[in-house]
Symmetry: C2
Subunit: 166 residues, 2 copies
């Protein structure tokens, strides 16, 4: 039960991209520098997000990444599934079939109760993640912020944001 380090980076990156102006674009190098992480490694996850349809890419000079959807339409679940993969955490390897005297195959038609319970819990977990959107995160952040956090973000965007003709 362990989530990769890239999940946190991906979420922060999406949250950051959500606060730039319409048509604005941010390069992966800028995001990595802002978060103090490896550029090449962050690229890997940004590509995954791009492939999942969460981010749009603008190639060429003055290019970069941009949200493909509205912040209210991007949930934490979308990001986690894109980065970690859609496979469930608990994989029932049908341990019942193994061993010296396995059960008849007709019992395997329905999944065992253990697998059902574990997957049910995971389903609840994902449903909870799907409740919060990027827009929600920005809203809750604004509540506790006295202006310092927003100021830092704006200052950084002022320097690194690129506005494309779209």
């Amino acid at each position: 039960m362990k989530l990769g380090e890239g999940v946190e980076q991906a979420i922060h990156s999406v949250a950051m991209l959500s606060s730039l102006s319409e048509g604005g674009v941010l390069s992966a190098a800028a995001i990595a520098e802002f978060h103090g992480v490896s550029t090449s490694y962050l690229l890997k996850h940004l590509q995954a997000l791009s492939g999942a349809g969460i981010l749009d890419t603008v190639p060429g000079p003055k290019g970069g990444y941009r949200l493909a959807r509205k912040p209210a339409d991007i949930t934490l679940l979308d990001i986690v599934l894109s980065v970690e993969g859609p496979a469930p955490a608990f994989r029932c390897s049908e341990i019942r079939q193994r061993g010296p005297n396995p059960l008849p195959s007709r019992y395997f038609a329905k999944p065992c109760g253990i697998s059902a319970a574990m997957l049910k819990a995971e389903q609840v977990y994902r449903a909870e993640l799907a409740k919060t959107t990027i827009a929600d995160l920005g809203r809750t952040l604004a509540e506790v912020d006295d202006g310092g956090i927003a100021a830092r973000g704006c200052a950084f965007l002022e320097i690194h944001e690129r506005k494309t003709a779209r």
Copy 2:
């Protein structure tokens, strides 16, 4: 987001131990043989369960493992936490502090909203796991069983179960 293979083995082992008679004991080798998995590796997880107070160990010949509590008092969450460790899956590495111009430390007093949302989801996940007990699993298994599964288990226990003087 991936759970270890040992989790499934551990749950199945506990479920198996829940169906033996009062004072009965099962050796790790027998459990491993029944499930067709590595004995030494299963031992590792059984030890973890023992350390967590879920199983009792009986040393010496005719020794083995036994449930330390009633099946109704053992939840899936207990087993998962024992095997996978109590650490949460999402670890906020406080990415905000890194980078060229970190935020003042006073903003770190409260966890960031991202971390809060992720941990909240995980809390829900664990709460769901805590709902189902080993007794529940046995009950649901009995509902779909026409006698074949129980027969196999009883036959195996008849051979390998050891009854200690306690």
